[in-house]
Each structure stands twice: as structure tokens, then as C-alpha cells.
């Protein structure tokens, strides 16, 4: 393991009544070269966990080890961080920001390479405060990479981006992964976690409640698929299977798709708009936490 957290805990206002156990004894490890996803609803403790792992928040108890050693001053030289929202200094251009942050590290990734990988060339001399959301996230990623880190923290890096910018960002992350970097990612987008992460941990109430690869977790928790139909098509009849109604559509969880379709046809329901999809991480999330991730 390149990074390990053992019984990591963070309590706010410790010792007083009303103590908040933001992180309550989590243990996990990140293997070198993998993309590890930390998922959880708002208030689950993932931001507190990641800030302790980044070394900017002191744990109440537990330990963090990087390459088997406790975190020390050298750790900052070996990691890169992209916060969910970061203000940069006013009146500095993209190029100047790169140069400035680069000067804070002992070694640097070649700036030309960063500019190319993060696609910054077209707005290098633009004031960083005048960038679009996607451009800004690419600059923040370049800043996270400027010290040529071994380990990169990406804290909800695509929140607020449009779908196209988000997918472009995924391509960047894939490029970084191919260069052997280790990534710890938090995200609100289940599709993002599914596409990018080799392993995920789902947190709720300060604890890790599930952990594994996205595929293995889905296989472990679900043997069924989802049959979707417009809600109107089902009418008010009583059906021999459970139906989840939301936003004008009906979802039927079943491991017997043929049986469900036969029943629907027998009852004269049109299957013209029927869709069958596998279970997703979002379904897993709802099942485990009972909460909408984006809520």
C-alpha cells in the first residue's frame, strides 16, 4: 500500500456534549498506481477524511502512513491536491500561477508537458480569474501536478462542470493514470467513480460501509436488473412485483426479466418504451445509505 489509514478518527469539539464524530475509525489502504474513489453523501465524513490524508487536518486518533512512514515534511513534496473549490491569487495569469506553484516544490513536472496534457495552451496568458469552469479545473489539475507528485488527491474535481467538460476531465485523469500516478478521488458522480476508479469505499456517518471494485460491489449486492417503464403504462393495477415510482417512471427490480415482460404483455402493457439496465453504483449507494448522493 502506498497510503494507509488505520482507525482514523476526527471528532469536533471533543470532550464536550454534542461532540461530532465526523470520521469514526476508518481503515483502508490505497495501492500504488490505482485510482481509489471515496464516495458518500453530504456529511458522510469523506471531506474530513481526505483532508486528514492530505495532511492539512490533524486526526483526533488513528494513524496515516505513506509508504510505511508517518506523514512528515517531505510528504507535501510527494503529493498533489486539487480541491473542490480553490481561490487563486488575483491578477496572475495561468502561466504565472503554474510558475508560482512550481517554485514551491523541489522538483517540477515539465511545464510544457503539463500545458499540453491539461490543454492550457489557448489561455496561458489569461488572468486565471477569467477562465471558464472547465478551463479553471484544468488549471487546478495542472497546479496539482506541477510538483510531479506520486500521489494525487482530486476532491470532487468535476462538480459544477457541464457534461462535455466533465468527460474531457475524465480523459485527463485517464492520461494521468497511465503515467503511473496514484489517485484518490472523491466525487458526487457515480458514473465518474465507475469509469475512473479501480476501487471505491463508500462512507456514511463517518464509517466505511462498503469497499471494493465497482464491479465486485455491484455483483456482491445485486443479482437483479432494473426494468424501467413510463409510470402511465402500468396504470393503477396491482402487480406481482415491487415497483418504485419516481419522476414519472416506474422501476421494477428483478432477476427474472422474461417473467416480468410476460406478465406485462399478458396485462396488455405496451413495451414500446421499456428499458432494461443493469444496477449502477447509484442504486448501490441508495441501497446502502438510503440517500440520494446528489442531495
Amino acid at each position: 500500500m502506498i497510503l494507509e489509514a488505520v482507525e482514523l478518527a476526527k471528532h469536533f469539539n471533543p470532550g464536550r456534549a454534542g461532540t461530532v464524530r465526523a470520521v469514526d475509525g476508518v481503515t483502508f489502504g490505497v495501492r500504488e498506481g490505482q485510482c481509489f474513489g471515496l464516495l458518500g453523501p453530504n456529511g458522510a465524513g469523506k471531506s474530513t477524511t481526505i483532508e486528514m490524508l492530505e495532511g492539512i487536518l490533524e486526526p483526533t486518533s488513528g494513524s496515516i502512513r505513506y509508504r510505511g512512514e508517518p506523514l512528515d515534511a517531505r510528504y507535501r513534496q510527494r503529493i498533489g491536491i486539487q480541491f473542490q473549490s480553490t481561490a487563486l491569487q488575483d491578477f496572475l495569469t495561468v502561466r504565472e500561477n503554474l510558475r508560482f506553484f512550481g517554485a514551491l516544490y523541489e522538483k517540477n513536472a515539465p511545464h510544457d508537458q503539463l500545458i499540453e496534457v491539461c490543454r492550457l495552451k489557448d489561455f496561458l496568458d489569461r488572468d486565471a480569474s477569467k477562465l471558464s469552469g472547465g478551463q479553471r479545473q484544468r488549471l487546478l489539475l495542472a497546479i496539482a501536478l506541477v510538483g510531479d507528485p506520486e500521489f494525487i488527491f482530486l476532491d470532487e474535481p468535476t462538480t459544477g462542470l457541464d457534461p462535455q467538460a466533465r468527460r474531457n476531465f475524465w480523459d485527463l485523469v485517464e492520461t494521468i493514470k497511465k503515467r503511473g500516478k496514484t489517485i484518490l478521488l472523491t466525487t458526487h458522480y457515480m458514473e465518474e467513480a465507475y469509469v475512473l476508479c479501480d476501487e471505491i469505499a463508500i462512507m456514511d456517518h463517518g464509517k466505511i460501509i462498503a469497499r471494493g471494485s465497482p464491479q465486485s460491489l455491484l455483483a456482491e449486492h445485486f443479482s437483479d436488473v432494473v426494468v424501467e417503464l413510463p409510470l402511465d403504462a402500468l396504470g393503477d393495477r396491482t402487480w406481482p412485483f415491487e415497483i418504485i415510482r419516481s419522476n414519472g417512471s416506474a422501476e421494477i427490480m428483478t432477476s427474472d426479466v422474461n417473467g416480468v415482460m410476460r406478465t406485462l404483455l399478458d396485462e396488455g402493457v405496451s413495451l414500446a418504451q421499456l428499458k432494461v439496465r443493469p444496477r449502477t453504483l447509484e442504486d448501490l449507494f441508495l441501497e446502502l445509505t438510503g440517500k440520494e448522493l446528489r442531495a
Partner: protein, 339 residues
Amino acid sequence: MNVSRLAAMTWARTLEFLRDRSSLAWNLFVPVIMVVGIGWVFSGPGRPLFTVGVVAEAPIDASLHPFLATKHVHFYKEDDLEGATRKVQRHRIDMLLDLRGKPGRYWVNEDSPKGYMLERLITGSEGPKLERQTATGADIRYVDWLVPGVLGMNMMFSCLLGIGYVIVRYRKSGYLKRLNATPITALEFIVAQLISRLALILLITVAVFVGTNSFLHFRMEGSYVDLFIVTLIGAVSMLSMGLVISARVTSEELAGGLLNLLSMPMMVLSGVFFSVDGAPRVVQKAADLFPLTHLLNAARAIMLDGATLADLAYPLSVLAGMAIVFLALGASVFRWRQS
């Protein structure tokens, strides 16, 4: 401390300030406008060539003495002979007449060219002869006294706001949190902020001083090097004070309030526009708590009285002591992020 990181942080902060044109203009032009405006009021054309104070029991006109009919001389009534004599000594007036007794008396400062001219006039005028008294002292205009005050006040605002407000803004916006995630240390960050602001303040202050001096011709009895050193220590002291305010505060409103709480009494009590020599003792003691008071006392002593650094051991040691205490306090309680 890593010099490369320190230099990078200093460079970035300096660039930010220089490109913030509104802020730069404010820092550069306000003191110029104030000094020029006040200089115009107190040194403008149309003023009489000579100023003479007159101590007399009757209204001052030619019936008292024919010399009072002299053109281009501003005669005004003085009630306090002793105070008026000091004004002759300090060259704040060119001559003093006491016409209450027989014979009357006049005071001139032998170092004053204007006093010499007036003496030639009075000895050549008609009327009873007056008894000659002499006084010596430095020629001080109000603008000479005011200039250190205005420049010091501008420095104070620049120090307090440039450090205090900026760091709080950085903290609130999350920029400090971002820096905290890099190898830069709190000490490197703080020192970079101080160096950047100090360099800019000194540059602006020197530019304003030289610019306004070219047409107002301030009195400068002492050494420019000494004045620069006093300015440097005073600026460090006030910057450190701003650091204490900004070390933990996360609200810009609170920071603004605290900075006003410091700057306003400092502006009034430190003797920017008027001396507090005649104020109650408790007020003078309160003024001693502010670095600006000691900075202005030291700067005026150099400019007006020709004091050397050795003469200024007390204000300089107070300023240095304040800087050390404020820096230590600010650095020890400094926090990168909002709690």
C-alpha cells in the same frame, strides 16, 4: 526557511498588488493629493512676505507704531508673550513686537533672513526706537511638521490593510488552504507578505516624499539614511500589528472593524495632523501605545531637529520591541484555514 519559496511568494504577492490598479492608485495618489493640497493651503502665493506677532493692549494699527503701516507684512495680535517668543525661536513667525511698555521691544531670530530684513525695516522706520531682543531656533512651517504625519498615516493604512485585510481575504477565499497543501511553511508565507508589502510601502513613501519635496521643499535637518531606517522599522512594526489582526480572523467584516478600531485612534492620537502635547496625560499615554506615535516622533526629530539614530534610541527601541512582540504573537497564532 526556503529562499526559493519565499521569493516566489513575495513575487506573486507583489505582482498582485501592482496589477490591482485601483489599490495602487489609492496608495500612490492619496498622500500626494493630501500633501499638495495642504502645501497649497499653507504655502500658496498671495501670502504676505513677512509675519509679525504683536503684543499690545490696544488694537494693532499705525497709531501704536508707524512700522505697523508697512505693506506686505502680516501683523497679527499675540496674547502670550512667552509662547510667541517660542514661535520666533522656531521661526514660525518672523518677528515679535511687544508694544505695551516704553520703550517697546522686538524679537528676531538672528538665523532668519526674513528677521534680518524686518529688522532693517524697523530700524529705518519712523517712530520710537524699540529695544532689540534675540531668539534662535529652527524655521518650521506647518507643512514641514505635517508631511511626516501624512506619509506616516498613509503607511499605517497600507500596513494594516495590506497585511490584515489581505490575509483574511486569502483565508476566507480558501487560498490559504490551497497554499497549506503545498510545501510552503507559515513562516515563509508570513515573511513573504511582510517583505512584499514593506518593499511597496517604502517605494511609494519615498516616491511621494521625493515628488512633493521637489516643490514644497521640506525642512530636512537630519540624515535621509536615518529617516529611511526609522521609516523601515516603523513600517515593520505596523505590518506586524496588522499580522496579529489577521492571524486568525476569518471574517472580512470583523477584520475591517478591528482595523478601524486600531487605525482611527492611531490617526487621531499619534499626532498626524496636530500635536497632542497639550492633551491630558492619559491621552498622551494612550498615544504611546501606538507605533505610529513613535514613528512620527522619530521622523519629525530627524527632519526638523536634525536628530540622529543615537538620539532616537527610545522611539526606535519601542518600535523594534513592538515589531518583535507583534511578529511573534502573529506567527504563533497564525491559522491557515477557517476553523
